[in-house]
Subunit: 366 residues, 4 copies
């Protein structure tokens, strides 16, 4: 398979499955001399942790991170940083009854086609739990970005038919933790929460849109013609389970725009050349232009639902039905925000090193 | 930079710029024994060639391909296949007057931030002309796919506000060549053509949506958790110039769906397990499920327009204006269809080899 | 840095340092369905473990492996296999007194030049202890090779001036465990052991040569022109600490041979075409030819010795002296044999998958 | 196959075969702003060109390079540099008579095992002619190295039993062009030339040793634990056809040394910390230490000889004989020197960028 690594210079490899001993990540290529503590990583994992509100799964995991390598006297030492989280609250029994019935909307049958079997216990490596790997690596990446004053934040902009109003991008970070939905528009957040709970009650789930914003990115990141910054962002975000679409800046609205409407005009600003608008979402020709980077992804409704669905029974090769009893999120968007942030941070860390913005071996003093 | 290669086993490297001596591609990793002629590649290039109708640029290039390596007695020999197209009709003079004025919507200023200069002659390597590389490699990939009965076709589904009606996916290929827009709905195609010509007259351009369909894909392609099939498709498509968004299956509509609506239910069909609907677009958990793969991308309006736009003059570092006089497509969507097809074919060829569907070194007899 | 991974399809990433919490490896790309137990890996680690005889370091580590991921019901599941060994017997105090004095023959000063510091505790990531990573991955690789009947064995052929007599390559495996030197020639082994103990007594150490033999390799492994089989073997073996040279088949003797002496002539054998001699060491044009693969590496004497040596004091930037008191191997060759075996097995596993000899996703039934 | 690329940041892809239309290389990742002319590359190719003396093949090629991309106004522009040489003097007829008889010492049969066929015309892609790719890329690398004052030179130190005396490493470059053997010891050179001509007369050929020296390398290049500088050098040199062994510094002599003899002691020099000796060959722990890098490779005798040899006839699957009539080098060492230099330069360019010694996107003014 060997598809579990991403990045060229800041290289992340993740491992582990939902019901195995542990999940984790190896980060190879972080320069030496970066202050990094267990708390830096734990704080990020806590944002992803399940069981924190009524609108997330009731699976309880403390998700305590352990650092196995790469840190020497409180700083990165330039060698691979390996972190893991042991799985604790593994209730596999619930999966026994459905182990021959591929769950609609899940990859069970695809994994079987590929590997000759699938781990029916919570999806195995296909589980959203494996995104702990991205969050670990993202925590390291964020610390690296911070040395250049770059920050990344994700927020929910739509759940079902409820769309949030636009919020000043500099205020998003302070507003999203005020509600369990991680929506910066508090009024919309309340409606979203209500909708999610209604669907939970109904044994169903709902999709939504997560937007990620990068503040203070330097111009010049991206490696055309294939490793463009937007191309690498699209890849890592599409690789998150349940994501079915990605757009940058104006995104799909661009289909209905003329160039005169779409193009961002240039002007001389105090700190350099800027654009009057940001339809491009901070990326032109696959390279950052110094404006905030704006990328959105659509997250499909969590496919595990307790409503009765048609499927097949693989042991008998006949049509069958399934009702999924596990503990699932009625809307995964709020928890996915941190995975999106982490993923974007990983790509930026890689491109900052590839582009010569950060020294590849050591943090240089300013 | 080193961002000009893509693929792990079927590895494509492209080179060349708009006004340099040549553009081309090296395909490394194509198994030996595949019949491949100059015509196979030329036919694909002809679909991309400019100057074939009123709605494309008037730049005239014959775009004749030359094969430099990798073919022995009419078949691939397992070594790198190198092809190139020499640039002919290069009118650089028109760019002299605007060489200090970055064009809105283009990457000129980003390239300068990155490389310390930019090639003002038609965007240099940032030009759409470099997609000849993808088309060359795509031609090889398509021949490889054909050995397994897999085909790829792209069509225009929207231009501005005009949306095409759905067409049976098996009929798309036969219908798109009946009009210059490459839209399978002939009635919509007429309206699209009219709209494009109006905008051309107005010195403006318009965006649109291109959908790519893969017929007869085997289940099991894709390498989670990062090199998922949809992630690799998103990357290669987002890397095409002017693309601002990608979606698979239901795509962004999934935000407003419940799982019960979104999930595709399974049933036993004659030729295996199939799904009743195809909301997933043929990919679940990052792996193909055997249903047709459906991926859409939004293409922004060609940024080069003759309308007056604000920009800056880099030689004086002051605000300025620009009117672009070159020869440009008022809508790039029709010509981009072949680039999308090629890009998808490249990803599939790579995943077919990586997944063991095609022998990596030689075409095995059936 | 990001130089801690090797392999394209069978991809190995190692991590950890001599005095950090743990050392280990992630193996990504092992097909699903391979039987693999903790014992398979532990048995290999035990061959590398220190403290087993008078001629190895007295550092005592039980080196118990833990499997964190990638195994489901006793078989690989196609996802990354992560294993680690926690460090136990870490005596860092001995290094405090020499922490500003780079040790001659070690990379201390080079790591400082690169990373701005070095981990003076046993060399940190530069320690031979990190080869536990190769042994873990090699154990997985060997199981994979076994499915095709391929085996790999390493033996010591020279220590100082003492050279072993040639032994039938099919008998090496049974003979090397009869002495602590892992030399197949018992008479030479005794002399080697004596020489090592003399040098230990003298506070010095000695170099040697390790040969690795691959039995029953299929013809056709290797990917010219860069990823040739011998090139990849040379890389992975040269990457083992203390190795200063690699040769294949006749190796450096080829300088003094004519083509008529060097060339292996072909003949028709019962099981295919074979060569009368094996001067090429089983590899021609970078591709295996089906004959046993023979590769030798020279291992320099362990640089940590208690003899007084000249060095510099980095805290005062003045000339100084050093006497190294740690627990070191007077000859590392015997323990390196298992690392060489593992390294060769890793390269073969990768090339067997790359070359289509082993299915990349699952073990196919015969 | 996809084994025709090397390097992570300075990425080289080569293509073409002995009797196809052309051979060449794509260099991706060279920073923008490096002065590079056709002459820079042609001068290097001329050192490799056949037909320049009695001791090389009589095949005559002018080997004129053409630059297809990557240069803008006399400087690199940061995009892929593609160069090629068209094949001219292709006499394939001589190979017709032996096309079913694999040549001893060549990879013919191995290529057949791998690809199902082989290009019998001069070895196809297995021909030494493909090293034109390395020389092209090496020419670019050398210009890059020059910006830091680093130079690379190769010389012949042994042919058959004749060994050259040591020469001051700073004088090698000026001395090797004084004789056709490229040996810095003029007296030995004469004997070597005589030996080569004798063997040519006899229809045979002879092996030798080529040493490559890097002057003025900075300390800190190399990426442990796998992408060590010596490991990457070993790989690229072993990938040159006919090379059967690699050694660094003391190399295979280290087997017979004690640590006290092998270790290089440190002292404070005017320009930093240096070692009194250079047994390590400039690399410790896989990282350069600032001393000259010394690497040697053994080159086997050219396998194509006119002496009668035993082989098999593949069309009849019976034992047979072969006499090779083509135009071949009686000793390839002199011409391989430039390939070795180029290969080493490629690895250094890659590691200089990876290690942050050279900016990845543009040449920074000092």
């Amino acid at each position: 398979m060997s598809g579990n690594s991403i990045g060229e210079m800041f290289k992340v490899t993740t491992f582990g499955s939902s019901h195995g001993p542990a999940v984790g990540a190896v980060v190879d290529g972080c320069p030496a001399g970066l202050e990094l503590s267990k708390k830096d990583i734990q704080d990020e994992l806590d944002k992803r942790r399940p069981g924190t509100s009524e609108i997330t799964t009731s699976r309880r995991e403390t998700d305590q991170v352990e650092i196995l390598s790469g840190i020497f006297k409180g700083k990165t030492d330039g060698t691979p940083i390996t972190c893991l989280v042991f799985n604790e609250d593994m209730d596999s029994s619930v999966y026994e009854s459905i182990k021959n019935k591929p769950r609609p909307g899940h990859g069970d049958l695809c994994w079987t086609a590929k590997f000759g079997h699938y781990d029916y216990r919570g999806g195995g490596r296909g589980s959203g739990r494996t995104t702990i790997g991205q969050v670990i690596a993202g925590a390291v990446a964020k610390k690296l970005l911070k040395t250049l004053g770059i920050s990344v934040v994700s927020h929910v902009t739509q759940i079902g038919h409820i769309k949030a109003n636009k919020v000043n991008i500099n205020l998003i970070e302070s507003k999203i933790m005020q509600n369990p939905v991680r929506c910066a528009d508090q009024s919309a957040a309340k409606k979203m929460e209500k909708l999610i709970l209604e669907l939970k009650e109904d044994g169903d789930s709902i999709g939504g849109i997560v937007e990620t914003v990068v503040l203070n990115p330097p111009p010049g990141m991206g490696e055309p013609v294939f490793d463009k910054l937007d191309a690498d962002l699209a890849k890592i975000l599409m690789a998150i389970g349940s994501v079915k679409g990605i757009e940058i800046g104006a995104g799909f609205d661009a289909a209905n725009l003329t160039a005169y409407e779409m193009n961002d005009e240039f002007y001389i600003a105090k700190d350099g050349i800027r654009t009057t608008t940001n339809q491009s979402g901070g990326i032109l020709g696959g390279i950052s232009n110094g404006m905030p980077i704006i990328v959105r992804m659509v997250v499909k409704p969590t496919p595990s639902i307790s409503k009765l669905q048609k499927t097949v029974d693989l042991s008998k090769m006949e049509d069958s039905e399934i009702q999924i009893k596990g503990r699932h999120d009625p809307c995964i968007c709020p928890r996915v925000t941190i995975v999106a942030e982490s993923s974007v941070a990983i790509v930026l860390a890689d491109h900052l090193i590839r582009g010569g913005f950060i020294h590849p071996s050591k943090i240089l003093k300013n």
